[in-house]
Amino acid sequence: MSIRLEKRSLRYGVELPQNKLVAQSPIELAPLPEVVTIPLEENIGAASEILVNKGDKVLTGQKVTDSDNFDSVPIHATVSGEVTGITTAINPSTGQAMKVITITSDGEDKGGELKPCPKLEATSSEEILKAVREAGVVDADGTTSPAHVKLSPPQDKKIDTIILNGYEWEPYVTSDHRVMLEYGEKVLSGLNIMKKVLSPDNVYIAIGDDKKDAMDSLEELIVKAGYDFKITPIKAGYPLADEKTLIKTVVDRKVLIGGSAADVGVVVHNVSTANAIHEAIYEGKPFIERVVTVTGVVRNPKNLLVRFGTPVKNLIEYCGGITEEGSEVIIGGPMTGISQFDPDSPIFSDTNCVLVKVSQPIMDMDCISCGRCIEVCPMNLMPALYPKYVKFGRYEECATAYVDICTECGVCAYVCPANIPIVQYVRIAKRELSKRMGME
């Protein structure tokens, strides 16, 4: 039986210009930043206790927060040096205030002793989950939910499938592609750890069919190591925004509204998460760095291995600076990324890309009801309705039109002839609705 399965394609969406400028550039090590800003409430889950004080010396990988709650993960210092502040800063992806810790690097990057786990065969699932939690591994694809929580589904739900997401659906972004090519062995080993914990029947690796080289090299590695994994090529298109659409595309199961992947017996993880899990178990290394694609109108676009908390300006400078006037700096890809106004905005565990792009004005004309947004929406929503409702403050009607399940992939705004920033209206509606929920 062949490892590579039949190609699958999306049942919606569009083909985007790929612009994967650095798909062939090897991962480089980004220089250590002088100062890192680490968010303390990065992952969802219970609030953690701060373990250090201002003025304390910390080592690379030393825990700075932890809690007794199993559902949250500890956060680690990403450089060695001195804690120079525990303050608030603007969250680069939501614009809200968040608690952060700043550490000024001593430039030595001294780490504590790493405690790798013994051989995998001799390690129990509980020990693995504990080690993954201890390393602070969170989902690297935008949700930042703790990896070990996903790997410990409720007792009543049997997980029979793991999908490793290497699809990488946004233009420009190549970080997962490079991770699969260069860290393939670690990714597969991380996947194998997940498999041991969950013992599913099937393990699929979903890869966009534009990444032939990654598919080939992973296939070779799977054969060599004798893993029981299957590769599912997916016709490149946009969007494959979240778990639900990926599950539908790969195994044709439908997650109901309000449901989760575990309901249909599936766990989805990202390739970078698998890599981090491998490092957590076999190297005892905490999750303090990831691969980030720095691309767009910078002099030398690169794929960089970056410590969390590095200011975005460092990466842009390292890549030779911005070459065009009137550019935006976007953390994330071109479709879902957020424009930054602050050059000091830090890189987080879910940052796969820093895109510098010449800003385009948005026209926001009147909707002509052409229905193109409805045709492309991966969640089968009617995006055209939201701007109309929001403009008149009719937020309840947004809720009745299922605005909450919108994944903000942006494909509706991409095809909109009137150039309406539909996603922004969706965000306004969601925010207004959650505010009202809070008031009640």
Binding site: L256, I257, P334, G337, I338, S339, M363, C370, A401, V423
Partner: protein
Amino acid sequence: MMPDMEFKVSPSPHLWGGRSISKIMYLTLLALLLPTAAGIYFFGYRALLVILVSVSFAVATEVLVKKLRGRPFIMDGSAVITGLLLALVLPPTIPLWMVAIGSIFSIAIVKEAFGGLGHNIFNPVLGGRAFLTACFSVEMTTWIKPMGFATEAIVATTPLDEGFVWSWRLAARLALYKDMFLGNTAGTIGTTLALLILIAGVILLAFKIIDWRVPLAYVGTVGVLSLVMGADPILQMLAGGLMLGAFFMATDPVTTPITHRGRIIFAIGCGVVTIIIRRFGGMPEGVYYAILFMNAITPLIDRYVKVRPFGFQKVVKSAT
């Protein structure tokens, strides 16, 4: 470090397909040039004059009304399309001042009074035509034989005037079909040559400007119903404004439903009303009123015909 670093910001997505309203309009206009050229070929300078008057008054009205409303005028081509389409559904002999009135009414009342492009309930072209038919019924139903650039006009009847009947004289039928398909029958400026309208429609379909469901469901409904009701389906499908209406008016995004299912309901409704008017109504042609009528029903269709979101389940509704 970088003191002069100042970033622009904008909401995601940061990419845009670039298929703008004006691009869609100009592509539609390009396709419309085919029936326009045919109209001028068959009805000569007179047709050209009607077209010029209609288009220029439409654009001028749009500029003026936008100014009165204090809104910016955007040359997106929509006013040109309205003017051109209106000319195409007028008889070539109509006095030019009537054309101007129709054009002004289309833009000022049917389109801009409702809020401009995107807000109008009725198709401006059809609103203008209905207004002209109500005001000048004689001029609006006087037809001439296609005479090209000759000056002599011969009054004639349109194929639809023969009524809602079925004829068994096959040879005569075939000659009539050929005339209608290749354009040698009396009628409005833009509708005499079904073949070119079909080609223009295929262009629109190829560029994915219109939804194929609408013309298919509309023309199909007309064909099936005429067959069932004992009329000549091929004549009914080729005659009058059906082809132009099905490809260029029933597909107007603004005044038709937004969902696929809604559009199919809309198109079938158009077909049914067209046949009812042609069979039982006081006038031979029903396409334009049928579409106008369905325009009025569009908000109702959009209210009840929705798409179901991914993972929809009935339980969700009862839970809330």
